[in-house]
């Protein structure tokens, strides 16, 4: 990285969110460069999920800003933020169960109706699910559901992709497929923010890790540096 | 200008007397919601059944409606517990809309059957009438009696919920059914008990209503909507909240009825219900959802 690195594509500035008396996210500032894969890690309850929801617009922050390409987008609503170019998956996949895999993509695509189907099929092919296009989401295996949800995010070609525990409960073959696709997309200029508890995979995938604990940012750096950081070790293994 | 003050006092007193009855009715609705996340749209029909118990007993034996409480409370408790056990329990973990549709269907079944059996005729129970003056405020005797009984029953239910082992089991079920189950609480029975008590409270409210208003098969709808407005106002699932909400609603209704007509007062309540829903669209559950 040079001294004059380009402005981050996605940034949070002092973002804070409280639930009742609990501060779930406490003044977190992170800047993420385009075309990178960043891991967001931390113990359970550290605020990762809340930060995802704040960035994707599901909930507004109590204070602080969320910037996409330098423009403040907090409080705009999830639908608009998605349209501006941030897509996310969920920890427990949230497909529309009574729709086929293909329909799940067609439902959300913003391609014109005439080509919606073709666009959806292309994306399903990209994640290797062509054969399951007509299967109902409720009948898919856990790993397949995660892949369809990933595809559903990709169908509108977002610049920033948030993956919430993409590897939880996924078999090794599927893990590999997800990792390959993330690398493909990163090379094509996409930006990723990924949470997971599977450190082996996070270390392999990410060029940078940010660590949350009790809603606060406690470390930010290369995987090697973060792994050696005493504060991180304390957060994971301390009382 | 003493008359303005007297009028205001009159409205507040009438409203509070009404509110006591609403609290009794809404207490059950909020209890069922709190324990199993079900909005029981048949709650008004339970009130209607309680009113008919009093009417029929009075017609047959001339029984005092206050004594009829000794019948309506256990009868409605059983009706509620059985309904919970065999019907509502099947949808407790389903989305809220499923149970909403189910209880809506149940309310139609009860109303329709009541129409077939008891006809659409209006009935009433001539019981104590009249009133007395307290300064410039006149107080209706039957309403005061209904208010007093309502408060006693609501208070008894509250004590049961907070002080007894079964009450605590119910509240544990309300907080987290899985944990309650793991702690050895029979959650099916806790839910049956909750629904039974809620029905008994609604039935008692109905018995009290029988000597205040006309009794007819479709009387439940308006009461259910008011009870719902009360618990939205007081916070869904909160028993003390229901008491406060009921008092507010009672005073608003009495005020609107004084300023216009009873009919418009009804409309005001419904608009208030919608307005309250809108002011706190997500905040209905007390705090913001996590």
């Amino acid at each position: 990285m040079t001294a004059t690195s380009p402005p981050p594509i996605l940034a949070t500035e002092g973002v804070t969110k409280r639930f009742g008396g609990v501060v779930a996210v406490d003044g977190v500032s992170i800047g993420i460069q385009a075309g990178t894969v960043t891991g967001l890690i931390g113990p359970n309850g550290s605020g990762k999920s809340t930060l995802f929801r704040l960035v994707s617009g599901e909930i507004p922050p109590d204070s602080g800003r969320v910037l996409l390409r330098g423009e403040a987008v907090q409080g705009r609503g999830a639908s608009e933020i998605n349209r501006l170019g941030i897509g996310r998956t969920f920890q427990l996949s949230r497909l529309y169960p009574q729709m086929s895999a293909l329909e799940n993509l067609v439902a959300v695509t913003r391609a014109p109706a005439a080509v919606a189907q073709a666009r959806a099929m292309d994306v399903l092919e990209f994640v290797g699910l062509t054969a399951l296009a007509d299967e109902y989401a409720a009948n898919l295996s856990y790993g397949q559901q995660k892949l369809v949800e990933f595809a559903r995010v990709l169908v509108n070609d977002p610049d920033v992709i948030l993956l919430d525990e993409p590897f939880a409960g996924v078999n090794p073959a599927m893990e590999e497929r997800i990792i390959d696709r993330v690398h493909d997309l990163r090379r094509a200029g996409k930006t990723f923010l990924i949470t997971d508890h599977e450190m082996r995979l996070i270390m392999a995938l990410c060029s940078r890790l940010v660590v949350l604990d009790h809603g606060e940012l406690i470390a930010d750096g290369t995987p090697q540096a973060v792994r050696a950081d005493p504060k991180v070790i304390e957060a994971y293994f301390g009382s | 200008m003493g008359t303005d003050l007297a009028t205001a006092a009159q409205v507040v007193v009438s409203g509070l007397l009404l509110g006591g009855l609403y609290a009794l009715l809404a207490g059950g609705l909020t209890l069922v919601f709190g324990v199993m996340r079900v909005i029981n749209l048949a709650h008004g029909e339970l009130l209607m059944l309680g009113a008919y118990v009093a009417c029929l007993l009075f017609a047959a034996t001339g029984l005092n409606p206050i004594v009829a409480l000794l019948v309506s409370i256990p009868v409605l408790f059983v009706v509620g517990a059985v309904t919970q056990r065999f019907v509502v329990n099947r949808v407790v973990n389903a989305p809220l809309l499923t149970s909403l549709l189910l209880t809506y269907g149940l309310s139609l079944v009860v109303t329709g059957t009541a129409q077939a059996v008891w006809t659409n005729d209006y009935r009433s129970v001539p019981f104590i009438t009249g009133g007395f003056a307290l300064g410039e405020v006149s107080i209706s005797r039957p309403r005061l009696l209904a208010f007093a009984v309502s408060l006693v029953l609501t208070g008894a239910a509250h004590v049961f919920l907070t002080r007894t082992r079964w009450g605590k089991a119910m509240r544990a079920t309300a907080q987290n059914a899985d944990v309650a189950l793991a702690c050895g609480i029979d959650i099916d029975r806790a839910r049956m008990l909750a629904f039974g008590i809620a029905s008994a409270l609604a039935g008692a409210a109905g018995t009290l209503v029988s000597f205040l208003y006309s009794v007819y098969p479709e009387m439940g709808r308006a009461f259910m909507l008011k009870a719902f407005a009360v618990i939205v106002l007081g916070g869904l699932g909160s028993f003390p909240g229901a008491l406060i909400g009921a008092m507010i609603l009672g005073v608003v209704e009495a005020g609107a009825a004084y300023l216009s007509t009873t009919q418009i007062a009804e409309a005001v309540i419904y608009i208030m219900l919608l307005a309250m829903l809108l002011v706190r669209p997500h905040g209905l559950l007390g705090t913001a959802e996590r």
Binding site: S79, Y96, S100, A107 | L101, V110, T113, A267, Y270
Partner: protein
């Protein structure tokens, strides 16, 4: 995999056969006036009206899962808009029905805008309150509406034109539903029903879609009310704002299958016939039967007849059904 799913050529044949059967039903109903008595015609007109209410309810509630317990409000508003136009301004029927559409549609927009911000269950109860408030409002506005005694229009025999108008409305509703169901917009509406948060996060403009669906639904229900007022030449608040109108629309749609094209048609045919049979003998059990049916459907066949047939492999899983 689904055990017995119908696929390929067989599915296409079944789908077109099913659609053809529905078209035949429509043709049969339109030829009926040549063959039967006015008594039967009046019964079929009522069934068509029920079908229009069920079909319009399905557009918002069946697709998005926003169950409206106040659908009768729009029927009632439409009936009063047309009724007042006929009684006070003596306008021709098409103008009266157009004003019904406009009033109900505008009410749908104005009420939907705030009400659709409520999550499903609160929306349902809120709409119940709205319908009651409107009924009271119409009753109170006695100088214009005639109040509780009702509104009397000059009597005229319009059975046949009313019949064909209602039939045209039903065909229009089915056509709209089919157009919606077979395009991505139908899937977007279903996505709201399946998981509204996920729909938002995937960029679906849920608020706008719900509002358009709701206003369309209200407009169509209002037209049904307008035709009813024109046909009956007498309306009163208790009849046109009756909760039972909403109840039957819900029961019919749920029976046939929510969020399907022909579900409301199937449901209204079945329930109208059952209703006609039970109505004469047990007038008050009519509502109870609808209620019992809702209970049974919720407990045992939540996806309705269409869903059951699709799960059993009798019908293909096509969105055009």
């Amino acid at each position: 995999m689904v055990a017995a799913s119908v696929t390929g050529l067989a599915a296409r044949r079944l789908t077109s056969g099913y659609t053809a059967a529905m078209v035949l039903l429509g043709v049969g109903v339109s030829l009926l006036p040549l063959m039967v008595s006015n008594y039967i015609l009046t019964f079929v007109l009522q069934a068509l009206m029920a079908c229009a209410l069920a079909g319009s309810w399905n557009l918002i509630s069946g697709f998005t899962g926003y169950v409206s317990f106040g659908h009768a409000a729009f029927f009632g508003l439409g009936a009063y808009a047309a009724g007042i136009a006929i009684a006070k301004a003596a306008v021709p029927a098409p103008v009266a029905i157009a004003s019904a559409a406009i009033v109900a549609g505008c009410a749908g927009l104005c009420l939907g805008y705030p009400a659709l911000r409520l999550r499903g269950p609160y929306f349902a109860v809120g709409m119940l309150g709205v319908a009651e408030a409107l009924r009271v409002g119409i009753t109170v506005a006695e100088p214009v509406t005639g109040g509780g005694r009702g509104l009397v229009m000059p009597p005229q025999d319009v059975l046949l034109p009313a019949y064909f108008s209602m039939l045209a409305l039903v065909v229009l509703i089915v056509a709209i539903t089919r157009a919606v169901a077979t395009r991505p917009v139908g899937l977007r509406l279903l996505a709201i029903r399946e998981d509204e948060v996920a729909a938002e996060v995937t960029g679906i403009q849920t608020t706008r879609l719900k509002l358009v669906a709701f206003a369309t639904s209200a407009t169509l229900a209002g037209v049904a009310g307008g035709i009813y007022a024109w046909h009956m030449s007498y309306i009163d608040p208790t009849t046109v704002f009756a909760g039972s109108l909403t109840v039957r629309a819900i029961a019919m749609t749920m029976l046939g299958g929510q969020g399907t094209v022909f579900g409301p048609v199937i449901g209204s045919v079945v329930l109208s016939v059952i209703g006609e049979v039970t109505w004469a003998r047990f007038p008050f059990l009519h509502n109870a039967v609808s209620g019992a049916l809702i209970v049974v459907i919720v407990l045992f066949i939540p996806r309705g007849v269409t869903g059951v047939l699709q799960d059993r492999g009798v019908l293909p899983r096509s969105r055009t059904l």
